[in-house]
Symmetry: C2
Amino acid sequence: MKKLINDPRRVVSESLAGFGLAHHNLVRVHSDPDLVLRREPSRGKVSLVSGGGSGHEPLHSGYVGTGMLDAAVPGAVFTSPTPDQILPAITETDTGAGVLLIVKNYTGDILNFETAAELAQAEGITVATVVVNDDVAVEDSLYTAGRRGVAGTVLVERIAGGAAERGDTLEQVAAVAERVNANVRSMGVALAPCTVPHAGEPSFTLADNEIELGVGIHGEPGRRRMPMADANSITDQLLEPVLQDLGASSGDPVLLFVNGMGGTPLSELYIVYRRAAEVLAERGIRVERSLVGNYITALDMQGASVTVLRLDNELTELWDSPVNTPALRWGM
Amino acid sequence: MKKLINDPRRVVSESLAGFGLAHHNLVRVHSDPDLVLRREPSRGKVSLVSGGGSGHEPLHSGYVGTGMLDAAVPGAVFTSPTPDQILPAITETDTGAGVLLIVKNYTGDILNFETAAELAQAEGITVATVVVNDDVAVEDSLYTAGRRGVAGTVLVERIAGGAAERGDTLEQVAAVAERVNANVRSMGVALAPCTVPHAGEPSFTLADNEIELGVGIHGEPGRRRMPMADANSITDQLLEPVLQDLGASSGDPVLLFVNGMGGTPLSELYIVYRRAAEVLAERGIRVERSLVGNYITALDMQGASVTVLRLDNELTELWDSPVNTPALRWGM
């Protein structure tokens, strides 16, 4: 394993320090506990807090800023942040309008965010939680009861962030976030595993001609191992379960999101996008918005995921609204 | 080799097709010959055309749009585009104000852009050329007489694009581009090689504990092979030659750009950024702007490069001016 790191134990803290220096105009990075906050605290609006294990960059820290998150709480690599990390993210960013926690559905995250929410509520802060569980690959998984939260999280954070920014109440922002989660489905594939820095070796192994269909963003097993296939065939096998589960039908307006797992070139993501767009067009499903790139990764894993979000006018409008974060920026 | 592709011979065309679908609001993709043009042709302004071998995505196609390029000409993977590909990019985008060609210093690119420029001039179009050669690693290289053009190209395209957008003449835009090139230096490192799709095997080999210091963006040899080291030490060995060659001194305002080669996680790029920023701070060099991410890649190569651009007020203002492309977007 060769990595551009100094010490496996300092990967998260040093990376956050660099992130904070590079984006000091947008964020403040707090250490001990690790915490990423907006440079300019929001005034009067509902606060959005997310977080989870590190290793999925730019998620979540890269999405702190106007029109998205107010705070991100990074745990150790692939490890949930602790309640005493999450609690200050809530208390620091609450303006009195309440705090929405956006939590990917992993057992550790659920427990720790819940504990932090209870502690914050005991301090008189109103907290709501939305759990993202968009991965159609498997019902239960290594670290999860129920479906895993994967790439749909980026879309929840963006769209709920737009709702908070325009002044929606906590109840309204939570409802928008729930609506995104109810209308988004994802599935991923790994061509090669990732290596957690402190482990020093790949989290799983794949034969030279083997891929993991339905892989999780920590390398959790998916639906099955299968022989390597061409991009069109793999894309079809990701997209079909997504569309079926979503119940997408002709005329539906959607956002098509092809995400890279970290080690796959952008050019290959566009080959996947091309096929997915072709299949959607054949079925009369209208791709109205797109996102292609490394937005939620699994360290250096080679692979991709396909996400479809069924849009409506309001979700589209919120998606388009101004956003200014280190990793997603438009309209300002 | 596992890649998300269908056929090595169709990698560029299928990737461009997907790119065109995903970003149809910003670009038009023309095939036969391959060409990426702005969706809305510019009116009256100087046109900027760049291009080169594919495999460096998002460069160049990802930088077509307002405030950056008017056309990008993608060759086959790691292969110069042909003159009859480049010529229509010039003729299609010229508004009468002239065309600036931004060419990375590789022998094939130089020859083919020169030929296309002559053909365009014979048609009465005014053409100027800026050659980017920011790589301090080696003097001559596998495909290059003189220094290679690498990550500095992104900065030339952005800043010259800003100058063209505000209405500068061809002479002025070319002068700005030359000023960026004169003030920018880069050096890269590979931890693991890349694999060209039609070759099917790595372009070079590195031992388990070996890295290539000063590597080119096609895997060309750099200054030396050396044993794997920690991120701080590697960063120092990239940054020192850059600063020396640039003659950077205390008080200089700079843009610090840490670029990923394609297969390295973003978190590691921030660890490199952290150290580079630390060294610059120690020397009194002021980091006024930053860029961190995969902006000019070498397929799935693992590695990074460090680029320093010495800024002045005008370059900073142009850097900050609105840009709206698939891969770089702010202010609009």
